[in-house]
Amino acid sequence: MIDISVCVGSACHLKGAYGVIQKLQSIVKERQLNNDVTIKACFCLGKCTEFVAVKVNETNIFSIAEEHVENFFDEQIVGRLDN
């Protein structure tokens, strides 16, 4: 089970956190990963100066723009799924 927490604090909200959440949700739906990936929202992760902050499994924090969500998912999430 992979938890993806997307920051919806002030800065990330303005940078399009919702776009990121929707994109992630649609990917999860498309690939039928509902039982393997949970998308959550959270408050400030302290990465306000970059793109939208996204935390994976309480450990790694990534900074991703809306248009890179698919890439991020393929590179960072798909690999973890196999484990």
Binding site: C7, H13, Y18, A41, F43, C44, G46
Partner: protein, 390 residues
């Protein structure tokens, strides 16, 4: 028991006039609140001057503890005499409410006040005194929590004359309407606004006379402890959260980082809601035992906008805000308007990393400014505000 006196008023002026001939003056003292509504003879500039002088003199003198006799005498000898009608005249209602609930009312030629307790219109015994040849009705009684007292100018009683209604609205009908309204509105502003809107409809948006409604609602004190922004010094986190939790009020956190700190210090889980109700307002979160958890500056500035629009009688922007909407800003605005007589603010001055982002439109000074504005509108609503910078 010390009550909170929630006072609000709304006015519309006669169609075609630029000034209102009714004037309301409210003075809050340490031991009492003085409310005066004056209705100047005629309409427009002349009426406005008469009403302004009357209400200002009356409120100032009464709040300084000067007797009603002397106050009336001063008003009558000060008002300029109308050349056309050769008289100086403004009707008035003066109210003095002590915070223990004792109320004194002096009425001169205005429609009688409407006193509502437990969904019933109360009849209050009045004494008549003659001062400077004018008959003034005095009354004294004791208010209780939940009581609603409303004064209206004759424009409200006559609403609809010559248009929708032959005889106008009549005092009894206004009183009945108010009984219904006060049962469903929690604050004075809601009541005065609803009644003035009804008058406007009866006048078909073209009032035939200046119309004013002043509502007073007696409330038990309700506090809100609002924590916003992390303290400047991280070492203070624990102490500040503890102190804030010790406050007697309902607990509100505005700020993602502050919310994280609260959750950490209280060792409780924070759950951010995924529902985006309004794209302009970030979602709320839940921490057990905390009444409302929201994002910071964006929510605060939207809540401020809502409160301002709510307070402003006829907002130019014409945006209708729904106080019952479920997004964070509407919830916050509703709590601050309806369930708060005293607001305790804990304002954190830490520089948020977000503030250093050149693309982020809001920096710490902007945030402090929004809070200052919020304090200003809350004080205008008659609420006590305490600020504490951390």
């Amino acid at each position: 028991m010390s009550y909170f006196i929630d006072v609000a008023f709304d006015s519309v002026h006669k169609y075609g006039e630029e000034l209102c001939g009714d004037k309301v003056e409210i003075i809050r003292n340490d031991d009492c609140t003085i409310i005066v509504m004056a209705d100047g003879l005629g309409s427009g500039v002349k009426a406005n001057i008469l009403a302004t002088l009357t209400s200002k003199i009356a409120a100032t003198m009464l709040s300084e503890g000067i007797s009603i006799e002397e106050t009336v005498d001063t008003i009558i000898n000060t008002l300029p005499v109308c050349q056309l009608r050769n008289l100086a005249y403004a009707t008035f209602t003066m109210i003095r409410i002590q915070y223990d609930g004792n109320i004194y009312v002096a009425e001169y030629d205005n429609p009688p006040y409407i006193m509502i307790r437990e969904n019933r219109c109360l009849e209050i015994e009045k004494r008549e005194i003659v001062l400077c040849g004018r008959k003034i009705k005095e009354s004294n009684f004791k208010l209780e929590a939940g009581d609603v007292l409303t004064i209206v100018s004759d424009g409200a009683i006559h609403a609809g004359v010559g248009g929708v209604l032959n005889l106008g609205w009549q005092w009894e009908n206004v009183a009945q309407y108010l009984v219904r309204v006060s049962a469903k509105k929690k604050c004075a502003k809601g009541i005065s606004k609803e009644l003035i809107d009804a008058c406007m409809s009866l006048y078909a948006e073209r009032p035939g006379d200046d119309t004013t409604v002043v509502s007073v609602k007696i409330k038990k004190p309700e506090q809100i402890d609002l924590l916003t922004g992390p303290p400047k010094d991280k070492g203070d986190d624990g102490y500040i959260v503890k102190e804030w939790m010790n406050g007697k009020g309902r607990k509100v956190v505005c700020g993602g980082t502050a919310a994280n700190i609260v959750a950490r210090e209280l060792d409780r889980e924070i759950k951010v809601s995924m529902d985006l109700i309004d794209p302009e307002v970030p979602p709320i979160a839940k921490i057990e035992g905390i009444d409302l958890v929201t994002e910071g500056v964006l929510t605060l500035s939207k809540a401020l906008k809502i409160i301002k629009a709510y307070v402003d009688d006829f907002d130019e922007s014409n945006i209708v805000y729904d106080l019952n909407a479920k997004d964070g800003a509407s919830r916050l605005a509703k709590m601050l308007i309806e369930d708060c007589t005293r607001l305790n603010l804990w304002i954190g001055r830490a520089i948020n990393p977000a503030h250093q982002n050149k693309d982020f439109p809001i920096d710490i000074s902007r945030k402090l400014k929004i809070i200052d504005e919020l304090v200003f509108v809350m004080e205008n609503l008659g609420k006590n505000v305490q600020k504490k910078y951390t």
